[in-house]
Symmetry: C2
Subunit: 324 residues, 2 copies
């Protein structure tokens, strides 16, 4: 679609114009390295799309839109240190390519750069936008802390899990939309509808991601299927399975979770079978579908002509479809 | 002095009113822990003093003043991870008491909290204040990166060292003053004079600190004398000594720097003797005195009655005196 392509190009051009040729090189090179990868730039696109819903003039939204992307990539950089992840998008992570100290410090600088970009919001709504951004940024940190804590727990409830992914994934998508809307001159009500839309999109997206990791097709998903199962990751599938399993099924799940010496394919197949027996694969799809419908109900309430909503609708339908 | 006491109390009360009783506890407790220590609160005091020079109304400056303190303590928290420091102000560091991941993430949250406080600046000057704050925050990161790089180098020049401490120490003191002045309604010129004052105060402070670590009195300095020498820290003294030493003195310095098995007192005494022979102890004092005089020349240029400058003058003279 034309609008989407135009905005995507605007984002890419603006990203390329950010300059990281500053001293000391070891502080700024990791930022440039992190941002050069061909991420999907979903968050800045959401900001520009939301702004464009309410205004033909979107230039004021470009710097804050990039701020969303820089902040998102900062969280990936620091999360990768905490998770000891060796690879991100097919490339060595910053703490692997440089070292942990450089990754900590470049991440810090990256968060400041994100604030600098967000601060380029037009002055009249700067206090409001900063408020949304800072609350969101704190929420993302809270989500990461819950995520790390859940790794050590076997009794995470569905409610706790949904709250964690709301913080870790949804709030930044929602804020990217709300900030774009505010810059475009949306009413508080419309900006909040878009925020709610973003929250539900994020929840649906994460549940679909959980489902795909076990039941998707490798060629479409782009990652090896079963990774979450091998890592005993507390996904929606595992949390629901632990909740619904009878004592025998629970025992088998724990046997696989605690297993040290096993064939990967056997573990994946066995755990998937338990998921299917319990129906948590279907339940995950239904839950994702519910969040998706909830999202679009908020979009429907926006007080603007339907054709203004098309770009966002196409982007998000594509995001939530994948190979389902 | 009455004004200083009054402002110090304002800072302490306001610090205590910040609430860290938020969830998840493991994210916010380390922030509360870091801020509860009885630091000297120099930076928020500088902000309030600078504001009070130009206005009787200082309440608008309180939140941004606390932002300076929270940001400063955030940098200590992350620096301590990078330096693997076990103790800070007599207490276990956050990464020791909790763990490195918690320290990284709580530090991130702390930087966001600092931005939240700075964002409470009156709206009319918020863009200007944010600009000063973000540039300063980046400068502090740059300073820390240079500091880490210098650890691995033996050819750091005096100029490089002064630039590093300007970034690592001075710019935040200078920004605390400038932001306070701007909130108090100072002219751009006066705000910049205070900024220059802060830069020179920071440089003088660090050189005095370098001198005290080798030549101070333990009871007054509050730390064990000779710590920098034992750690081969690239202080102004060592950098100047390496610059001025003849081949024989250089050889002896390197012998001590590379020594693995030695008596601490002997190393300290021997290196101090080289410093004294080369006169770098005196040179450090003179350099510090020059920066101090430069600082007060900027204070003299401020376009306000002298009695308005007294509080700041007393605070800074005290800061730069210590046991010299």
């Amino acid at each position: 679609m034309q609008q989407l392509e135009r905005l995507r190009e605007k984002v890419q051009n603006a990203m390329q114009q950010l300059s990281w040729q500053k001293q000391p090189k070891e502080l700024y090179s990791p930022i440039s390295y992190t941002l050069q990868s061909d991420g999907k730039r979903i968050r800045p696109l959401l900001t520009l799309l939301a702004c464009n819903m309410f205004s033909e003039k979107i230039d004021d939204a470009i710097a804050p839109a990039l701020g969303m992307e820089v902040f998102h990539n900062f969280t990936l950089l620091h999360d990768d240190i905490m998770d000891k992840a060796p690879v991100r998008r097919g490339m060595p992570t910053v703490h692997e390519k440089w070292n942990a100290n450089t990754a900590i410090l470049s991440g810090d600088a990256m968060m400041i750069e994100a604030y600098k970009l967000v601060s380029k919001t037009p002055h009249t709504i700067l206090p409001k936008v900063l408020d949304v951004f800072s609350e969101t940024a704190l929420g993302v940190c809270e989500g990461q802390m819950f995520d790390m804590q859940f790794e050590k727990r076997m009794d995470v409830s569905e409610e706790e899990y949904l709250e964690m992914i709301r913080l870790k994934t949804s709030v930044l998508l929602a804020a990217a939309l709300k900030i774009g809307a505010l810059i475009g001159g949306a009413s508080e009500k419309d900006a909040n509808e878009l925020y709610s839309f973003g929250i539900s999109v994020g929840l649906a997206f994460q549940l679909i991601d959980d489902w795909l990791d076990s039941f998707g097709e490798e060629a479409v998903f782009g990652k090896r299927i079963g990774g979450d199962i091998l890592e005993n990751k507390k996904t929606y599938l595992l949390i629901k399975a632990l909740e619904l399993a009878n004592p025998e099924q629970k025992k088998e799940l724990f046997r696989w979770i605690e297993a040290v010496d096993f064939a990967a394919e056997e573990k994946i197949a066995s755990v998937k079978e338990i998921f299917q027996t319990l129906g948590v694969d279907k339940q995950t799809q239904i839950k994702a579908e519910n969040f998706s419908q909830d999202a679009f109900s908020h979009l429907a309430k926006l007080n603007i002509p339907n054709e203004k909503k098309q770009g966002l609708e196409i982007l998000v339908r594509d995001l939530l479809k994948r190979d389902k």
